[in-house]
Amino acid sequence: MSTANVLARTTARTPARRTSRTTAGTVVKHAVLILTGALVAYPFYFMLTASVKGFFEASAVPPTIFPRELHFENYVTAWGMANWPRYFANTVFIAVVNTTGELVTSILAAYAFARMNFKGKAALFALLLATYMMPAEATLIPNFVIVSKRYLNLYDTYAVQILPFLATAFSIFLLRQQFLSIPNELRDAAVIDGAGHLRFLWSVVLPISVPALVTVAILSFYGSWNSFQWPLIVTSNPDIRPIQVALNAFRAEAGSSYHLLMAAAAFVVAPVALLYLVGQRYLVQGIARTGIRG
């Protein structure tokens, strides 16, 4: 396009017209965002408002949009209807052990891949990559058999909910990427000071890798907190079952008293929702960088 043409076009558009057009555009954009935002937010709104409805209001047809009375005691009732303290304790225990364990195993393995030389490195890394690409569905049934009475005999234990998740190829990749980015000069300086690998890892690598470690920890914690299918098939004893399986069972117990079910859903979701609001930056970065989708 010629310069004259460009000039003609830019002068043809008066400032006033441009402003009105941008305003109209902004209004449309906000309208789209608000509308989709409302649709996205609605189920949360429903959960919170329904959770404080009274028994009769909850079964009213048509349903009310704003609760007429606020029955916060629903939370107490729902909490008392099942052994929630136990489910929470189970889940927190499993999640903490999983997260800690996964951090330890992946830090060590990632460090070895990023900063050490050893025989068979390329082959082991290829094996790790193959593991990463293998979907969980490939291992669901064999693992179900492996932990059965005939083999490891781990049904209905905490161990069965922890052991398989103590290492993931994904975390190793994420941390390896981070450890690779650490300048070699730092390692050289540490060697001159007589520091070995463990020492260097502990006092140099880990402190400057905190954001990546937090990402791994948050993702791992989420995985544990929201895990459902595996505990569903390898546990039946309510005393060791985690919260998601308990919530699923509670759907039947609550029956048509859905205000109580909504209260239970709210306190099951609350911890991770809070964690998300606090650790949003790390989580979103981790997802954008690696593209995992649960």
Binding site: P63, H197, L247
Partner: protein
């Protein structure tokens, strides 16, 4: 032997010792992770194939060779299996294009430094971190035939009420029925139940697509837009001629990830419909689950699982190809 040669020998020996130490240390570092991966991730893949070659109803039975596979693909389970494959692809066709389209539009708007951007992003992402079980429990009641507000809202514009998650009738069938036309069974379309599950999936994963698209938008050089604006390009032209082509790696990436997600979908379908009504939401994953867990046919289920794994692996390989080409990370 000269003094120098002895010194050289010593130096070589100490270097060798150091290499050995480094090797041993590296293996020790790898041991915990690889022990876990070996038992629960690598070995099971081979074990799955082994199981799939047997009649294995709760306990291991007779060797069947590839009979489990032929049963699934052509034999007694074929009708059931291919129906679940068709349900899976229908489910994919209902969710993925919509997820990508809505995700693109919202990411594009959010990227333009609009006011309240951080709040919107937080909001859109919230469903993604909410547990599927809790969210599905909420959806079940939002779409409840009697107490759900969706029917209430549709009622105000003269539609419904619908049974949603309990409705096995096809979408096209219902629309045609509204105009008094009866469609043949093959043209009935996906059940309303499956469509409702799809709505849930779109709601749940929207935030994921937005995050990926936002990262991709950040990689497009500002100069391209400025140059195009100088040439008098309209907003639509900017989007169509610059954003869309330069975002195509992310779109393709999201497409493969979403496909894998659909192929793996279990939790939401299990909680919302458990494969019903009349099996209209029984995807391959649900079919595998019913076969090995609810019917106890572990050998048959494992064969089905191996087939599912092969399909997922194909998509994963494509995704890796794309990822390799993606030079700039979010």
């Amino acid at each position: 032997m000269s003094v120098g040669a002895i010194r050289m020998d010593q130096r070589a020996a100490s270097r060798r010792r150091r290499t050995i130490t480094e090797n041993v240390q590296a293996y020790l570092f790898l041991l915990p992770a690889f022990a876990v991966l070996l038992v629960f991730k690598i070995w099971p893949v081979f074990f799955a194939i082994y199981i799939s070659l047997f009649k294995w109803d709760i306990i291991q039975g007779a060797f069947r060779g590839i009979d489990n596979y032929t049963d699934i693909l052509f034999g007694s389970r074929a009708e059931n299996f291919w129906r679940s494959v068709s349900t899976t692809f229908t489910y994919a066709a209902m969710t993925i294009p919509v997820e990508i389209a809505i995700g693109l539009v919202i990411a594009y708007i959010l990227f333009q430094n609009i006011r309240g951007r951080a709040i919107y992003r937080t909001l859109y992402y919230l469903p993604y971190v909410t547990s599927t079980v809790a969210a599905a429990a909420v959806f079940e009641w939002v779409f409840h035939p009697q107490y759900g507000l969706v029917n209430e809202a549709l009622g105000t514009i003269g539609m419904g009420p619908f049974s949603f998650l309990q409705e096995p009738d096809g979408l096209f069938e219902m629309i045609a029925g509204h105009f008094g036309v009866t469609l043949p069974q093959w043209a009935a379309g996906p059940s309303l139940a499956l469509a409702t599950v799809a709505v849930f999936a779109i709601w749940h994963f929207l935030g994921f697509q937005i995050v990926i698209f936002l990262a991709g938008l950040g990689n497009i050089p500002e100069q391209y837009y400025e140059a195009a604006k100088l040439d008098g390009a309209s907003q639509w032209q900017l989007f169509r001629k610059i954003t869309l082509p330069l975002l195509s790696p992310q779109i393709f990436f999201v497409f493969t990830i979403a496909s894998i997600g659909v192929l793996r979908a279990f939790n939401e379908i299990y909680v919302l419909t458990n494969g019903g009504p009349l099996d209209t939401t029984r995807t391959v994953t649900m079919n595998v689950f019913r076969t090995f867990f609810q019917q106890g046919q572990i050998g048959l289920g494992s064969a089905m699982g191996v087939l599912l794994t092969l399909i997922i692996l194909a998509f994963t390989l494509i995704q890796f190809r794309v990822l390799e080409r993606r030079v700039v990370y979010g």
